[in-house]
Symmetry: C2
Subunit: 120 residues, 2 copies
DNA sequence: CTTGACTATGGAGTTAACTCCATAGTTTAG
DNA sequence: CTAAACTATGGAGTTAACTCCATAGTCAAG
């Protein structure tokens, strides 16, 4: 799988993918004789995770640490488990924040209905 | 309520609050004779919403449109309701994305410790 | 009146995360 | 062969969202 296919599968730009490689968010792919990058299928999944996480307000620094945890085996199982649990807690916190915003919106919507009145 | 109190209540910097005012995310406060800003209590709630939304990956541009919807009465009830429902849909989508990341993490955790059935 | 904690301003500087550019090598279709 | 469509590189430029700075006015305490 070469660059063009990855671009099509992820809807990320060539420059963005190269940038993520430089920053260590995805592993450097093998090169064929001409110097072209040759990607493993799994990079698509990794890039999609990065894209989702970015959309959710995680910084690339945060995403990198998660990506390394998920896709590289650099830590002991124990360290890895602790880090992953931390990440899961962060996500739970974000879900709670989303719920808070949602209830603010719900309150505004409820306040607009004729039979309900005051809105804080 | 003046600047210092707002800073303490929101943990945002003076510069950030001034920046949000300049960008129209919060209304320009009234000024006392000396030129000092004098805030209404509601600004704290608005700033906290901005902070949460930012943490969740909304841009200031997106947040501005939401803040205007929630705190200023510039649209008809019908328009407002439509916009608020859109925002609520966006939030539902973000929750789904968070769930996707969470399951990726859960899968990694499950793969690491197949003997453990329950994950905190 | 001085000191120190407030407040104000416009504008420059910073950081993250791209995004673009100029240049150049490779491969494929005709 | 040429032309189009790929690929590569380092480095400059851009945008969002702050963050800092220099300068200066205000106000309460001692």
């Amino acid at each position: 799988m070469q660059m063009r296919e990855v671009i099509e599968a992820t809807h990320l730009s060539r420059d963005t993918i190269r940038f993520y490689e430089k920053e260590g968010l995805i592993p450097a792919p093998v090169r064929s004789g001409n110097g072209y990058r040759h990607y493993d299928e799994s990079v698509v999944r990794q890039l999609k995770l990065i894209k989702r996480a970015k959309h959710l307000g995680f910084t690339l620094k945060e995403i990198k640490s998660l990506a390394v945890l998920l896709y590289q085996n650099s830590l002991t199982p124990r360290e890895m488990e602790l880090h992953l649990r931390d990440k899961r807690d962060e996500i739970a916190e974000k879900i709670a924040e989303l719920a808070a915003i949602k209830s603010e919106i719900d309150a505004a919507l409820a306040g607009m209905c004729p039979d309900k009145k005051s809105l804080g």
